[in-house]
Point group: C2
Chain length 457, copies 2
Amino acid sequence: MTTGDGAQTKFLLDESEMPTQWYNVIADLPTPPPPPLHPGTHEPVGPDDLAPLFPIALIEQEVTGERYVDIPGGVLDVYRLWRPSPLYRAHRLERLLDTPAKIFYKYEGVSPAGSHKPNTSVPQAYYNHQEGIRKLTTETGAGQWGTALAFAAAQYGIECEIWQVAASYRAKPHRRTMMEIYGATLHSSPSEVTEYGRSLLAANPEHTGSLGIAISEAVAMAAADPGTRYALGSVLNHVLLHQTIIGEEALLQLAQAGETPDLLVGCTGGGSNFGGLAFPFLREKLAGRIDPTIRCVEPAACPSLTKGEYRYDFGDTGGLTPLLKMHTLGHGFIPEPIHAGGLRYHGMAPLVSHVHDQGLVEAVAIPQRECFAAALQFARSEGIVPAPEPTHALAAAIREALACKEAGESKVIVTALCGHGHLDLAAYEQYLSGEMVDYELPDAEIAAAMADVPVLA
Amino acid sequence: MTTGDGAQTKFLLDESEMPTQWYNVIADLPTPPPPPLHPGTHEPVGPDDLAPLFPIALIEQEVTGERYVDIPGGVLDVYRLWRPSPLYRAHRLERLLDTPAKIFYKYEGVSPAGSHKPNTSVPQAYYNHQEGIRKLTTETGAGQWGTALAFAAAQYGIECEIWQVAASYRAKPHRRTMMEIYGATLHSSPSEVTEYGRSLLAANPEHTGSLGIAISEAVAMAAADPGTRYALGSVLNHVLLHQTIIGEEALLQLAQAGETPDLLVGCTGGGSNFGGLAFPFLREKLAGRIDPTIRCVEPAACPSLTKGEYRYDFGDTGGLTPLLKMHTLGHGFIPEPIHAGGLRYHGMAPLVSHVHDQGLVEAVAIPQRECFAAALQFARSEGIVPAPEPTHALAAAIREALACKEAGESKVIVTALCGHGHLDLAAYEQYLSGEMVDYELPDAEIAAAMADVPVLA
């Protein structure tokens, strides 16, 4: 596998070269995305509606039309713990596949929390701290987001209270420990702490929870206390804004490598990792400077972009959040437990849904065993054991690289390896033992969940 | 905690600046270390004695007097997957401790296997592959070394068979999965595969194993097959040689930071992480260019340097290996299960033992709860969750930083953070829940284990 050819593997940037602005793709889109609506009035929500949940600075970022937003010094300081993150050329994977394609991956697993999530948890904790907030609440499923927020809260000395989906809370004690190391308080969701949680437990004491339910609980707790705010790890505009530092760095690093991308491919759950990588490239594409295909990859078990409807739906199961125009499987949707790893959210970020609706990006769904097969090929060649989420992007990158081999094309493929899988090894064990099965979400189940989605006038 | 002051956090080197030679401290020592002896004749062992176990290139490195050894291109290629590793200035930990000391840590957890071990597993796999070997055997305790060798073997397409201490094999299924992801074959040790293992299981079917027993099994399997060799993850000269890339890089990075070390502190189990960091600094110290104190830190539960005797003993429990002059607790020593994490080996690298005996380095033992308290301070300030092993070095660094605060001294403290703790979270859970206890190895137990150590004429 190794040739001693001395080829450059990592494209690095100095701390002094780290981007100092986030990029807001809305400024460059042909049409703006539809606004969020108040769940009661169905009118566009204003800053006042969001103020009980988010600090002013983040509400401003949620609605801004400015092309660039400065990253505060107090955020850049913490980013420097791991950023700029490396861009790798996957020489060894290319050799394994015997492909003429050039594969690059931007690796976000170097963050202390092990994923791309701290790119937004850090500024969210920063702005809340600036505005005198003393506690943040949030939900977590697979645990990546909870870990990221716990880490960020510790950096600014604020409290962090996390509702973890009961199924994960029981199955992944190590994730819980990781969050507790950072000083966070954990609840299994549904919990006895909120009225909504109590009502669900009363109906079913063994309830395994869902991301949408955990969001409802965390939102309710934040809304009830003026010193507490809520933090969301994906979906919203300001979250995707913060993640664009991934794509901004990758552009600089690809220029360093002297390459122009033909294909960008990122996994999509809520959409923040994908948006973070893709939007700066989309800016360059819209400006006519590059022309890559941009592809979302989602699990066949939770196919919001490829099978969900593009319409207004709640962000949570309890119906507490504003209505968001997004690709959705219905806010009551709960993914099958046989689907390993994250990417389990019923909806897709309004911004990603919008650019997909505008035909600026495409989407594909891949079954999980193909993803884990790709992960093993990747780990045995490139060394890094990926989180289950980015294995979807790797599987799609490998599909393309093999098509390149067939066609004799030397495409430049860029993907985001958004996290390592050190805390997801149970899923690998399932795959290695042959116990993992594929699952494609049936249309009838989607139709059933969509029946509860409000119909707007 | 964060000030927005923009202070540089990471000191990085380009791939082009990566050292291309390992450093052999023996060339600069006032006296050479005593040679290994044949277990039967008690005469110094020659290359022929070692040939059934190791490839010629590594045997040559084991006994070489050359000051520098070139790193082959086929090794540098794989090193580039994570090297050069970053040197961090621990601004946030310093602020937390309110100390005038400057703390730097060299972070080896960026390797795919998550520790410093691939620095030697990669060249070991490389040289074996070069000499036509098709399989490597080894032992692993906490799992760091097994993971590193499995990763390296996958890089060169050779097989890897690992004997994992039974207690770890049962308690740490995720470690096993990590090695299997890289394609390795695992055995619980003692195993039914070797005669020695079968004899131990016959006496006690529930035997929990030890590192020394697992070494005996892996050595026996390698010796029995001409296409198989054995790989050791610490202790031997060639292993410490490979690890010196840590210290060579750290010297360049400290120069970049414009600092001169007053104290170097590293944890010691078998001694490879410590030697890797310290020996290049020791060269500079012996040459009179710098004058740092160099300090080993070991667990109070396995205190080979501070309480063991410096004499010839076997490297394994079964008495198959050459006799090594080293600090030892007796080759029959098995550490208490209440000691979490690695650093459980009965002996200390002959080279580290020798420089300690010569008064060139000092040693201290620290109980584990102080180490985990230090780990929490570190994780909540610097973000990275350390492996249990380097928490010993962190605890010692914090002791010194607090002494600096007391004395108003601004010492420069350099330590090696030799791995992350993502696969050691059960130990953190034990600490956080208050269940972890300290354990100091009683003198009587050492005396009992030492009674079996051979007395040489």
